[in-house]
């Protein structure tokens, strides 16, 4: 059974590899911005900040509810339309074609991942013990100080596995950005595949590259977790009876 043309796959491997930087660029930037916004959203929800709480609840629901592809389209087709409108109304000369599709993708993925991450942080902050907050108050910390120095470091440890999930998911989700002209790993693979209908080969190439890429981050996250958890009485050591 030599359905798979390995030689072909191998020959085109480097070409697909060229999609990695774009993928990483979008994933890393969106992840970082997503963490920041996600954290802010989570705190607004936990502290039930009036009005803002309402708004972020709708935001999270909407962003999670709408398919990523739609979000991409809304930005990709909506911003040029908006620019046209502005140009017409105000006589400006904004040119949407000047904006790289990568920018649209980054905005879309940031909006998206922030919503998911807000839930991750909400879960992990809620899982920290209320006694920790009280202790911080008792030594005279403000809420912000207590969050920054005591609660969030503990919450971060709890969220690491989920952040890992999100980040790996994000790396793969960037393949959707092909829908707005960003040519990343999957896009490159599909373009190459078309000439000889070698989809099987090229999908495998893409899968291998994604795997290598994500594996690196899996290991990084695992190590980070091990390091950050060192203060805990672990439930996962020698407790199997």
């Amino acid at each position: 059974m030599s359905i798979i043309d390995f030689e072909f796959a191998w020959r085109h491997f480097p070409e697909v590899l060229k999609g990695v930087p774009v993928t990483l660029l979008i994933a890393v930037i969106s992840m970082i911005l997503g963490i920041i916004f996600g954290l802010i959203i989570a705190l607004c929800r936990i502290y039930k900040v009036p009005i803002v709480n309402r708004i972020v609840v709708v935001y999270v629901s909407f962003i999670r509810g709408v398919p990523m592809i739609v979000l991409l389209f809304v930005l990709f087709y909506g911003i040029p339309a908006l620019f046209d409108l502005i140009n017409k109304q105000l006589g400006w000369s904004l040119d949407a074609d000047q904006i790289s599709p990568v920018i649209y993708a980054m905005i879309a993925y940031t909006l998206n991942t922030a919503a998911y991450q807000s839930e991750i942080f909400r879960a992990s902050i809620n899982a920290t013990h209320s006694g920790q907050m009280e202790a911080a108050y008792s030594v005279g910390m403000t809420t912000a100080q207590a969050l920054r120095r005591i609660i969030l470091p503990q919450a971060l440890v709890l969220s690491l596995p989920n952040l890992g999930n999100t980040f790996i998911g994000l790396i793969k989700a960037t393949s959707l950005a092909f829908a707005v002209k960003v040519i990343e790993i999957m896009g490159t693979a599909k373009i190459i595949a078309n000439d000889g209908y070698k989809y099987l080969e090229m999908y495998l190439v893409a899968a291998v590259i994604y795997w290598m890429l994500c594996f690196v981050f899996e290991v990084l996250f695992a190590q980070l977790e091990r390091k950050m958890r060192r203060y805990e009485a672990r439930m996962d050591e020698g407790q199997s009876a």
Binding site: I3, D5, K181, G187, A193, N194, D195, G196, Y197, Y203
Partner: protein, 256 residues
């Protein structure tokens, strides 16, 4: 794939669910209809020893399925090239044609052939599909002055036509039938500025299905010979695309 049902050999036919009227699309109940299906009905009549099962799937998935033997063959407007022939079995006999054209604004006369598009702008195109293949092979043959192509996963023809009408792109490379259907609804300031080619379209078989491919080849040739396919062509496209291009240009399409 040699499973049998009611004493008949089962043939699994993959249909592209990125539908493509009037070749292949669906009715209200998502049943497949179109030129391709009518053609298959004629084939079924000719080959009663087989039982044909139709399965929808994304085009790329269908190709993987044919490749791995899950499907016997896939039908859509597949184009043939030597590289693909290495991987798949193409029959001898095409079952239809795709008429490709360049569409521009009505007031432009500078774009007739692909050569005219060198240095000009196309709207973004999908990486796969027959149209893309034609442009890719043009670029392969003209490495010194290639066409500039932008790629997007799922190109929206409607959106792309608008781009051309708004002057954001110079011309779109499109199937004439597609343009015609769309123009009926959209009524844009566009025209067909030139027919580029008449491309034969094929079904794509799994490498091992030589026997069936031969039978279908024979059947297709008969259907062309007795004019059945010409009639179907007229039913779906208002023109018999088995005739030559000049005839089609005169008879078939009265471009606005």
């Amino acid at each position: 794939t040699s499973s049998e049902k009611d004493g008949k050999k089962v043939v699994k036919v993959a249909l592209s669910d990125e539908v493509n009227p009037p070749f292949l699309y669906t009715d209200e109940n998502n049943n497949p209809i179109g030129y391709d299906m009518d053609y298959m009905k004629e084939i079924e009549k000719k080959l009663p020893e087989y039982k044909f099962e139709y399965l929808f799937g994304e085009e790329e998935a269908n190709l993987v399925g044919v490749d791995t033997g899950k499907y016997t063959f896939a039908i859509n407007w597949f184009f043939k090239n030597p590289e693909r022939q290495k991987k798949f079995l193409f029959p001898e006999q095409e079952f239809g044609y795709s008429l490709t054209s360049l569409v521009t604004k009505k007031d432009r006369n500078d774009v007739k052939t692909l050569d005219d598009m060198v240095g000009k702008k196309f709207p973004p195109m999908a990486p796969s599909g027959g149209l893309r293949t034609i442009l890719n092979s043009y670029n392969a043959q003209h490495p010194d002055h290639p066409l500039t192509l932008e790629t997007i996963e799922h190109a929206s023809n409607a959106d792309n036509l608008k781009r051309v009408a708004e002057g954001k792109a110079d011309a779109i490379f499109l199937n004439v039938t597609t343009f015609n259907e769309m123009q009926k609804q959209m009524k844009l300031n566009l025209k067909v500025s030139g027919i580029v080619s008449k491309e034969p379209i094929w079904v794509v078989f799994n490498k091992n299905e030589t026997e069936l491919a031969q039978k279908i080849d024979k059947a297709t040739a008969e259907l062309i010979g007795d004019g059945t396919l010409s009639k179907l062509s007229e039913k779906w496209f208002d023109v018999d695309f088995f005739k030559d291009l000049d005839y089609i240009n005169q008879e078939g399409f009265k471009f606005e």
